[in-house]
C-alpha cells in the first residue's frame, strides 16, 4: 500500500494551477482534498504522474449567499458546509447531507469540488447538487463556463470537465417558500458509503398539492436524478400518503441499482422505496411549515 512515484506541485495562484494542468497534460491530476484519490493511489489503482494540490488557493474557499443563491467555492470542505450557519438557514439540505459523508476526519479534508469532479455514484454531492438544480463553474486557460448539474455528470466517475478544466465554484438556489427537503441515507455503519441515499425537494401549492417534486438517488447510478417526466399524475395531487407511496414506488422501479456484498439489487430497490417515502413525508411536512398561510 505504497503509491507509485509521482511529482507533487502546490501552486499559489489559480493561473499557475491552470498552467501546470495544461503543461503536465492528462497524466496530472488535481488534488482537492484527496479523500478518494489518495487511497486509490495507495492501492496503485490510480497512478497519476503528477498531483497539483489546490490547498493554497484560498479564493476557492468561500461560502456566499446572495440574490437567492448560495455560491460555494470548490475547495470548501464537507465539514465547512456541515457547520455553515448561513447554509443551515438558507439551504439546509446541504449541511444535512454533509453529515453523511464519511467520518469527521474525511469531512475535514474532502471538498465539494473534489467530490463533484470525482463523480462517484455513491457520493452525496452529485445527488444533492442535482436535486437542488445547481450548476457548476468550470475554468480553463481559455475561459469559463457554467454547467447545469444533471448535464455535468455523464456516467460513473465521468463528467463534462475537459482535461484542462478545473471546478472553481458551485451555485445552488436557496430554499424557496412552501418548499421542503429531506435527505435519507442508509449505510452499513455510520460513515460508510450509502447502500442507498435519497435527496428530495418538494414544493406544495396553496392547497397543499404537490406543485414540484425533485428526487435524486445516491447509489442509484449516475445520472442519479429522477427525470421530472416520472411525476406525471403525481404533480397536482394532494401530498397524502397514498400519493407519496406511489411516487416512492416509481423511484424504486426506475432504478437499476448495483448488487454487491452488502445488498442485492432487489434489496436496494426496496430500501430506495422505503427511504423515498420517508423522505417525501419529511419534506412535505417541512414544506407545510414553510408555507405562508397569508
Amino acid at each position: 500500500m505504497r503509491p507509485a512515484p509521482f511529482d507533487y506541485y502546490v501552486p499559489t495562484s489559480f493561473e499557475e494551477a491552470l498552467d501546470l494542468l495544461k503543461r503536465l497534460g492528462p497524466d496530472a491530476r488535481i488534488l482537492a482534498g484527496g479523500q478518494s484519490l489518495i487511497p486509490l493511489m495507495n492501492f496503485r489503482l490510480a497512478r497519476p504522474a503528477a498531483l497539483i494540490d489546490l490547498a493554497r488557493l484560498l479564493d476557492l474557499n468561500g461560502i456566499m449567499i446572495q440574490d437567492g443563491h448560495a455560491t460555494i467555492g470548490a475547495m470548501v470542505t464537507h465539514a465547512q458546509i456541515e457547520h455553515s450557519r448561513e447554509l443551515q438557514r438558507s439551504q439546509p439540505l446541504l449541511p444535512a447531507a454533509a453529515r453523511y459523508i464519511g467520518h469527521e476526519a474525511i469531512r475535514n479534508r474532502g471538498t465539494l469540488g473534489g467530490s463533484l469532479a470525482h463523480a462517484d455514484p455513491l457520493a452525496e454531492w452529485p445527488a444533492v447538487v442535482t436535486v437542488l438544480g445547481g450548476r457548476i463553474k468550470a475554468v480553463s486557460l481559455h475561459g469559463s463556463r457554467w454547467i447545469a448539474a444533471p448535464d455535468f455528470f455523464i456516467g460513473p466517475l465521468m463528467t463534462m470537465l475537459a482535461p484542462d478544466e478545473v471546478i472553481t465554484e458551485v451555485e445552488v438556489p436557496v430554499l424557496g417558500a412552501s418548499t421542503g427537503w429531506s435527505f435519507q441515507e442508509l449505510a452499513r455503519r455510520p460513515g460508510d458509503f450509502a447502500l442507498v441515499g435519497i435527496a428530495v425537494v418538494v414544493t406544495l401549492d396553496r392547497r397543499e398539492k404537490v406543485a414540484d417534486l425533485r428526487v435524486s438517488v445516491v447509489g442509484g447510478g449516475i445520472p442519479n436524478f429522477v427525470p421530472p417526466i416520472m411525476w406525471d399524475g403525481i404533480l397536482g395531487r394532494p401530498a397524502e400518503d397514498g400519493v407519496l407511496q406511489e411516487a416512492a414506488m416509481r423511484v424504486s422501479e426506475a432504478l437499476a441499482p448495483p448488487e454487491d456484498i452488502h445488498a442485492t439489487a432487489a434489496d436496494r430497490r426496496q430500501i430506495a422505496r422505503v427511504l423515498t417515502f420517508r423522505a417525501l413525508k419529511e419534506a412535505t411536512a417541512r414544506a407545510r411549515s414553510r408555507s405562508d398561510p397569508g
Binding site: R2, L186, P190, I271
Partner: protein, 783 residues
C-alpha cells in the same frame, strides 16, 4: 495474605503506551536495516509456469529477490501447531492428510495471496515498486471456492493424488443416538452456517530480524504470540542451535490468535536476514493482512435433533463441513473446539458427529478469538431456541431444562478434549447465571413491552445464549521470579502480552505472595533469552498457566527468603513473615532484612544455609492437568427495521464466570473487546470471495469493523466459581466475550421478526441476510 488479587489496579503498561512510548514493529529502526515485501499470488488456483525476477533484481535499491529455487535448506514445510493427540487418534481414528504450508510456492499456488517471491530492498517504497517488476506467468486452474462444491466429485482437487479435498475426516459418537431418535417425541433438522471472518489487529504481523555480527545467529523482534515456538521453527529451518537465536516480543498491536500460527514470513524473513547478513524488517500492510493472515469461522453444520415431550434434548446428529482454505495448518483445533463447545452448558446425552475439514482456494483457516467455539455455541443455542418453537415452550424454559446443574459437577459429556484428556466441565453454576442474566435484562417484563411496540410498528427482539469456554490449556507454562541487589523484583515469563495486561496482573500475583508493592515489580514477557521453556499466548491460557507459574515461582522465592533470613537472624522460620519488602520477625518489625539485603546475602560465595543455592532467582513451571471451564450467559435486545433490514442493538448484558477474578478492570476490558469482536462478526465483518476465488473484502471500506457507534454499552455481571484445578482458582477470559454474540443476535433478530415467521440460521446479520429471510418467510407463508 491476598490483598491485590481481585482489585481493579490500573494497568502498569498504560502510561508508557498512552504516551507514545510503545515499541511496536513499526517503531523499530536500526542502521542498515532493509525492508522486505512479498510477491503474492494473483490467482486462487494456478500452476506457476515461470517466475522472472531479473528486472526486479536489477532495479535500483533492490538487494535481493528470493524464489523457491533460492531457498536451499529452507525448502521444507512449515511446522503446524495443535497436533492431534495420540488418545484422539486411538479413540476416533481420524483420517488426516498432510497439506502443509511451504515458505514460498513451488509449482502451484492455492490461494490469492500465497507468497511466491520475497523482495528485499532499501526501503518499503522501493520494495513496493519492485514487487510489480517480478513477472509471474500462471496457468490458471479451476478454483474451489465453495465448501459443498469442494466435496463434490466434480470439484477440482487442490492436491494431486487426492481423490477429494478432505484434509481431515473425523467421526465421533457416544450414547445411543439411533434409539434416541426412535423414541423421541419430536425430531427436526436445521442447517446452521457460520460465515468467514477473522481477527483484525491494529498492527499486522511483522518482525525485525537482526543477524549477529559473528554471522552465527540472530535476534528476532517478533509479533508472534509464541516466541519460543517461532525460535524453534527458525532453528529447525536454518539448522541453528537454540542458543544462537533469540526471539523476543516487540510491543504487539493485537494478536487474537492470528499471530499464534506459523506463516511463511516467519521463516522467510529470518532466512533472508541470515543469508544477507543484514537486518531485515517486514510488516504486513492492511491488504496483505486480509489475503495473507489466517481466516476463521467458516463452518456448515447440518444438525438433526431429537427431544422428548418436555423439550429435553435426547440426541444430536451433526454433519460438519469446515471450509479450511488452502492448507491444513491447525489440524484438530477448529473442528474439535466447535464440537466440544456444543456439549455444554447443556446436556447432550448422545451424539454422532461427522466432521470434514475441506480444502478450498482461500486463505488457510486458523484460530481467531474463539477458535471454533463461537460456531459450536451458535449451533447449540439455535437448537435450544428451535426446541422452544417446536414445542411451544419459552426458549428460556427449554434452557433451564437442559442446562447442566451445579450438583452434576464435575460433568463429563463423554468425549476427550482436544488435548487428549477426558473432557470434564470442572465447575460452574450455569442455571444461576442464566437467571441473573434474565433478571438483569428484564426478560419477564420484556414481552409486554415488545407487544406494545409491535402495535406501534416497531419491532424489538430479545435473544439469549449460554456458553462454556475451555481455557488454560497445558501442558505447562513457566515463570521466573528474581530479586536483585537493589531489592526490586523481576518476573519473567515466555508468554507474550498483546494487550491482556500481563505486566499488571502478574505483578499483582507476585506482589501478594512476596508482600511487596507492585511498583517494585517489573514483568518481562515473551523473550526466549529469559526463560528456558514456554508455550505462549493462546487458548485463553495465560492467567491460568502463567499466572499459577508466577504464583509458584514467587512461592519458591518466598520460602528461600524465609530460610535465608532465619539463618541470618538466627530465629525459627515460623517466627518470620515477608511484608513490605522485608523479611521480619513477627511482632518485632524492627528486626528485619530488606529484600535488597537478602539478595546481597545470597550471592555466590556468601554464607548460605546448608544446601541452599545462591541467588534469589527461582523458576517454576505450572503443569495444567487439562483445561478449566469458564462459562457465560449473554442477552441482547435489538430493534429491527423490517423494511430495510437494519439491526440496532439496544441493550447487551453479560454474566461471566472465569473463576477467581485477578483484576476486574482488566477482565471487563477483555469482555468488552470480546463482545465487540463478536458483535462485529455477527453483524458486519465478512470475508467474501467471488466465484474466481478473489477476496472482495481487502480494505476497511469493504470489511466492516464495528466502530464505537455500533457497540452498545455492555452491562457486565460477574459470577465467581473458582476452578478446582489450579492454586489460584482462576479460569481464562481472553476469548470468552466473542463466543456468544452471533447466537444471541441471531436469536434476537429472529425474535424481533417473529410476526413475519422469520428464521435466522446464518450470519452475518446484514441487510442481505435479514431481507432475504423476510422474503423467504413471506414466500413460505404464501405457499
Amino acid at each position: 495474605m491476598s490483598e491485590l488479587i481481585g482489585t481493579p489496579m490500573l494497568r502498569k503498561e498504560d502510561p508508557r503506551l498512552l504516551c507514545g512510548d510503545g515499541r511496536y514493529i513499526s517503531d523499530l529502526q536500526i542502521p542498515g536495516m532493509l525492508t522486505a515485501a512479498i510477491v503474492r499470488s494473483a490467482h486462487a488456483h494456478a500452476r506457476i509456469v515461470n517466475i522472472d525476477a531479473s528486472v526486479a533484481r536489477a532495479h535500483s535499491g533492490v538487494i535481493a529477490v528470493f524464489t523457491w529455487r533460492d531457498l536451499g535448506r529452507v525448502q521444507r514445510p512449515i511446522p503446524t501447531f495443535g497436533q492431534i493427540p495420540e488418545a484422539i487418534h486411538k479413540a476416533w481414528r481420524p483420517t488426516v492428510r498432510s497439506a502443509p504450508v511451504y515458505p514460498l510456492a513451488q509449482e502451484k499456488v492455492r490461494y490469492v495471496g500465497e507468497p511466491i517471491a520475497l523482495v528485499v530492498a532499501t526501503d518499503r517504497y522501493v520494495a513496493a515498486d519492485a514487487l510489480e517488476l517480478v513477472e509471474v506467468t500462471y496457468e490458471p486452474l479451476p478454483p474451489v471456492v465453495d465448501v459443498e462444491f469442494g466435496v463434490s466429485p466434480s470439484s477440482a482437487k487442490l492436491f494431486e493424488g487426492w481423490e477429494d479435498n478432505v484434509a481431515l475426516h473425523i467421526k465421533i459418537a457416544f450414547g445411543d443416538v439411533d434409539a434416541a431418535f426412535r423414541t423421541a417425541a419430536r425430531t427436526f433438522r436445521d442447517r446452521y452456517y457460520s460465515h468467514r471472518y477473522t481477527g483484525v489487529p491494529l498492527e499486522g504481523r511483522g518482525m525485525l530480524v537482526i543477524p549477529e555480527l559473528s554471522g552465527q545467529g540472530m535476534t528476532i523482534w517478533t509479533s508472534h504470540q509464541l516466541p519460543h515456538f517461532h525460535r524453534a521453527a527458525v532453528c529447525e529451518a536454518l539448522g541453528l542451535p537454540e542458543h544462537a537465536v533469540r526471539a523476543v516480543q516487540a510491543d504487539i498491536g493485537g494478536g487474537f490468535g492470528q499471530k499464534a500460527g506459523l506463516y511463511p514470513e516467519d521463516i522467510l524473513i529470518p532466512f533472508a536476514a541470515y543469508r544477507l547478513g543484514r537486518p531485515v524488517k517486514w510488516l504486513e500492510d492492511r491488504r496483505e493482512h486480509f489475503i495473507a493472515s489466517s481466516h476463521s469461522r467458516e463452518q456448515l453444520h447440518d444438525v438433526e435433533v431429537a427431544v422428548d415431550k418436555n423439550g429435553v434434548l435426547l440426541a444430536l446428529r451433526d454433519r460438519v463441513l469446515i471450509d479450511l482454505g488452502a492448507y491444513l495448518t491447525f489440524p484438530i483445533v477448529l473442528p474439535y473446539l466447535a464440537l466440544c463447545h456444543m456439549l455444554g452448558p447443556y446436556r447432550v446425552p448422545a451424539l454422532t458427529a461427522d466432521i470434514r475439514s475441506v480444502l478450498t482456494n482461500k486463505v488457510p483457516s486458523a484460530p481467531y478469538r474463539g477458535a471454533g467455539r463461537p460456531e459450536g455455541v451458535f449451533v447449540i443455542n439455535r437448537v435450544m431456541d428451535r426446541i422452544g418453537r417446536e414445542l411451544g415452550l419459552d426458549p428460556m424454559e427449554v434452557r433451564r431444562r437442559n442446562l447442566i446443574r451445579p450438583d452434576e459437577m464435575p460433568f463429563s459429556p463423554g468425549i476427550l478434549y482436544r488435548d487428549g484428556t477426558p473432557m470434564v466441565l470442572d465447575s460452574g453454576d450455569y442455571p444461576a447465571a442464566l437467571e441473573r442474566c434474565l433478571k438483569a435484562i428484564g426478560y419477564h417484563s420484556f414481552r409486554a413491552h415488545q407487544e406494545e411496540q409491535r402495535q406501534r410498528g416497531s419491532y424489538l427482539g430479545i435473544g439469549v445464549a449460554c456458553n462454556v469456554e475451555a481455557t488454560g490449556i497445558g501442558p505447562f507454562e513457566g515463570a521466573r521470579v528474581r530479586i536483585d541487589a537493589t531489592g526490586e523484583v523481576a518476573v519473567y515469563t515466555g508468554v507474550t502480552n498483546q494487550g491482556q495486561g500481563h505486566q499488571t496482573v502478574f505483578a499483582q500475583v507476585c506482589a501478594d505472595r512476596l508482600g511487596i508493592s507492585p511498583d517494585k515489580i517489573t514483568v518481562i514477557t515473551g523473550d526466549t533469552a529469559t526463560i528456558g521453556f514456554s508455550r505462549g499466548t493462546f487458548h485463553s491460557r495465560v492467567a491460568v498457566t502463567a499466572g499459577n507459574a508466577v504464583h509458584l515461582a514467587a512461592e519458591k522465592v518466598h520460602s528461600k527468603l524465609i530460610r535465608l533470613a532465619a539463618s541470618v537472624l538466627e530465629v525459627a522460620p515460623e517466627d518470620l513473615e515477608v511484608r513490605d519488602g522485608c523479611v521480619r520477625v513477627k511482632g518485632a518489625p524492627h528486626t528485619a532484612l530488606s529484600f535488597a539485603r537478602c539478595a546481597q546475602l545470597s550471592v555466590p560465595g556468601a554464607q548460605l544455609p546448608p544446601g541452599m543455592e545462591p541467588g534469589l532467582d527461582e523458576t517454576a513451571y505450572f503443569n495444567a492437568p487439562s483445561v478449566t471451564w469458564g462459562s457465560a450467559v449473554h442477552a441482547a435486545v435489538v430493534h429491527v427495521d423490517p423494511e430495510t433490514g437494519a439491526v440496532k442493538i439496544l441493550r447487551y448484558v453479560v454474566v461471566h464466570d472465569c473463576g477467581r477474578v485477578l483484576n476486574p478492570l482488566i477482565l471487563e476490558g477483555q469482555i468488552h473487546g470480546g463482545v465487540a469482536a463478536g458483535i462485529g462478526g455477527a453483524l458486519l465483518e465478512h470475508l467474501v470471495y467471488d466465484e474466481n476465488g478473489q477476496l472482495l473484502t481487502t480494505t476497511f471500506m469493504d470489511y466492516l469493523l464495528p466502530t464505537v457507534a455500533d457497540i452498545p454499552t455492555i452491562e457486565i455481571l460477574h459470577q465467581e466459581t473458582r476452578s478446582p484445578l489450579n492454586p489460584l482458582g482462576v479460569k481464562g477470559a481472553g476469548e470468552g466475550g466473542a463466543l456468544a454474540p452471533p447466537a444471541v443476535l441471531a436469536a434476537a433478530v429472529e425474535d424481533a421478526l417473529a410476526p413475519f415467521g422469520v428464521r435466522i440460521n446464518r450470519t452475518p446479520l446484514g441487510p442481505r441476510t435479514v431481507l432475504a429471510a423476510l422474503r423467504e418467510a413471506a414466500a413460505t407463508i404464501k405457499a
